[in-house]
């Protein structure tokens, strides 16, 4: 089926490890892991998703004729949970999740319709301190996953809303401006704004949207151009968040991006995106969505983010070359009376945290070597009796050792 694929051992292992690293980092920040179903009722999803997002859902009916869908993101299910089964839990709630999400749209995820996301939500905490916590955690998650070079762009949805309120344009032109910005079509935007006689500072800002990036100085520059309360408040909040991110120790990876273009119907405050080297798309994104919980009957401010796990592994593969399977530590072969010894050695090695495979059939030494190569382990242990076994490390001559010594020999070599 187009858009779906199998992950083979090497890929699956890297993906799983990245997922564990991300969840472990989130747990270090006090976030509790929740697992929500892959299937949600459309009644639930409709409360949280826009029209375009709903269109992309895989939908079907269950036995009672109710329409259900495979989740396309996991913030809405977590919001349902926070307002439902967790409604008596004191706020703020810190929750994290991991799992696949699906989209009928092949283009959206680069020909992939099933992708993996890991995310965290901070529910019930307003203000800059909560915003900064989530951004700093996203940055630390990048590091935990093994991404060395990355940057986080921080913006504010209200900055844009304020400009759209203040800009002097007929309603139908305003609507067209929103469409052009959503499509990132600055040529259309320019011609729309040129055709109106009224010029204001807000026109200038809209035209310069993709270039409104930089450090703290960009807040000053923008502050000199906007004259509306919403945008001014947004700039003040951004300044505060930036200060807090300095205290979090991640100032060097943070840029301010006043022209960030996102789903502005959903986000209500500080928004951010994380980029790594050599990848054309953001690997993490998030922001404040204070309106969502109220739709589930528990009004509460909230902020959060998600990491595209597929993009993390893609980035790791690019920076560290092709993914290689972690090697097995030992291939344990046997003949005749050696089977019990082989099983005992296998158990001991695994107890010490090593990876060991015990052969399923008896093999003479020569055939055992061929099997060893196929398995791809660092050591071959050949057991032919209860008292002594033959141990061979890659590129070395075989040695006779006692079965009890095998673990310590291997542990020495494996650096345990």
């Amino acid at each position: 089926m187009p858009g779906f694929r199998d992950l083979l051992p090497a890929e699956a292992e890297v993906l799983r490890e990245a997922q564990e690293s991300l969840l472990a980092e989130m747990r270090r920040w006090g976030y509790r892991h929740v697992i929500t179903p892959l299937v949600e009722s459309m009644d639930v999803l409709e409360l949280g998703l826009g029209r375009e997002q709903r269109r992309r859902l895989f939908k079907f009916t269950d036995g009672d004729g109710d329409v259900v869908a495979l989740v396309g993101e996991r913030t809405v299910p977590v919001a349902r949970l926070a307002a439902g089964k967790l409604r008596t839990a004191p706020l703020p709630l810190r929750l994290c999740y991991a799992g696949p999400v699906l989209s009928t749209d092949e283009g959206r995820f680069q020909q992939r319709r099933e992708t993996y996301q890991v995310g965290a939500e901070l529910i019930g905490a307003p203000g800059a301190v909560a915003d900064a916590e989530v951004i700093a955690m996203a940055a630390r998650c990048m590091e935990a996953a093994g991404i060395r070079r990355y940057q986080i762009d921080v913006g504010h949805a209200e900055f844009f809303h304020g400009i759209m309120d203040a800009v002097k344009l007929p309603d139908e032109v305003k609507a067209a401006v929103r469409v052009a910005l959503a499509a990132r079509d600055f040529v259309a935007l320019e011609s729309l704004l040129e055709s109106t006689p009224l010029r204001s500072a807000e026109h200038e800002l809209l035209l310069r949207f993709p270039a409104l990036r930089g450090g703290a100085e960009i807040l000053q520059a923008a502050g000199g151009l906007v004259r509306n309360r919403r945008s001014e408040t947004a700039l003040a909040e951004l300044a505060k968040v930036r200060e807090l991110l300095v205290a979090h120790g991640i100032a060097q990876v943070v840029s301010l991006d006043l022209g960030a273009i996102r789903d502005f119907d959903y986000y209500t405050g500080v928004i951010f995106e994380g980029y790594g080297p050599d990848l054309g798309r953001p690997v993490t994104q998030g922001g404040r969505y204070d309106g969502l919980l109220a739709r589930f009957g528990r009004p509460a401010p909230a902020t959060g983010f998600m990491v595209q796990l597929d993009l993390v592994t893609e980035m790791l593969a690019r920076t560290s070359g092709p993914v290689t399977m972690p090697r097995l530590d030992a291939a344990v072969a046997w003949t005749g009376a050696g089977l019990d010894t082989a099983l005992r050695i296998g158990s001991t090695l695994r107890l010490l945290g090593m990876r060991a495979v015990v052969d399923t059939e008896a093999r003479e030494p020569a055939r055992a070597k061929a099997w060893w190569t196929a398995v791809g382990a660092a050591n071959l242990i050949h057991c032919d009796s209860e008292s002594a076994v033959s141990w061979m490390a890659s590129g070395q001559r075989p040695k006779r050792v006692s079965p009890d010594e095998v673990a310590s020999h291997l542990a020495g070599g494996a650096g345990i």
Binding site: Q151, V187, D278
Partner: protein, 215 residues
């Protein structure tokens, strides 16, 4: 986005020489269509220029294989993506039109039958245009010589790109509506604009400057 140099994808075909002339006039790189055509990929003067099929330019840019791309607006109508469309380069102007045989009774919307059948290389754009006018349409996707389709009775009309209108006239077709005007655009990868803002923006502003000059 490989390495630190800024990369730009140039389309093969009618836009190649105009795009290279813009790059030369902006002082970015002197490169002849012949040299680029021979090598397909040229690294020089801190710039990487790659030559790809017009329909592939958005893919190179969206995936980050090129920071920037030059591509006709007609291609962007058919393949919307996650890129930024930054500058109208005013190159290769042409129009996307609805054309019918000279002998046809079809003209304005009031003359359209309940189901209009059209042939086109732009199925997405054509379908959206009719749909927004509440008109049912059957779109036949063709890959070349679209103007033949109405002459042999396959369809009522065609939606195709025309610069001078000559091909249409030669095939006894007349224009009844204009769906859109197209010129070459400069597009940019969203991450390139953010991760290497200065280098990419400097190329963008140089091209913006020369594109404004009347040709």
């Amino acid at each position: 986005m490989s390495g630190e140099r800024t990369s730009i994808a140039i389309p093969t075909g009618v836009l190649t020489s105009g795009a290279l002339e813009l790059l030369a006039r902006s002082g970015l790189i002197q490169l002849s269509p012949e040299e680029l055509g021979r090598q397909l990929l040229v690294d020089r003067s801190g710039l990487r220029v790659i030559l790809v099929r017009p329909t592939d330019v958005p893919a190179y840019v969206d995936h980050g294989a090129a920071d920037l791309g030059i591509v006709g607006k007609d291609i962007l109508w058919e393949t919307p993506g996650a890129h930024y469309e930054l500058v109208d380069l005013h190159l290769g102007p042409c129009r996307l039109v609805l054309a019918v045989p000279d002998s046809s009774s079809l003209d304005g919307p009031e003359t359209w039958p309940p189901l209009v059948r059209i042939a086109t290389k732009y199925p997405r754009t054509a379908a959206a245009w009719f749909e927004s006018r509440g008109q049912a349409v059957e779109v036949v996707r063709l890959h070349g010589s679209v103007e033949l389709a109405p002459l042999v009775g396959l369809v009522d009309g065609i939606v195709d790109l025309t610069a001078t209108g000559r091909t249409l006239r030669e095939n006894h077709l007349r224009v009844t509506a204009v769906l859109g005007d197209s010129t070459a655009r400069l597009i940019a990868n969203q991450a390139s604009l953010k991760t290497r803002t200065q280098a990419v923006q400097s190329v963008v502003s140089k091209l913006r400057e020369v594109a404004g000059v009347a040709r």
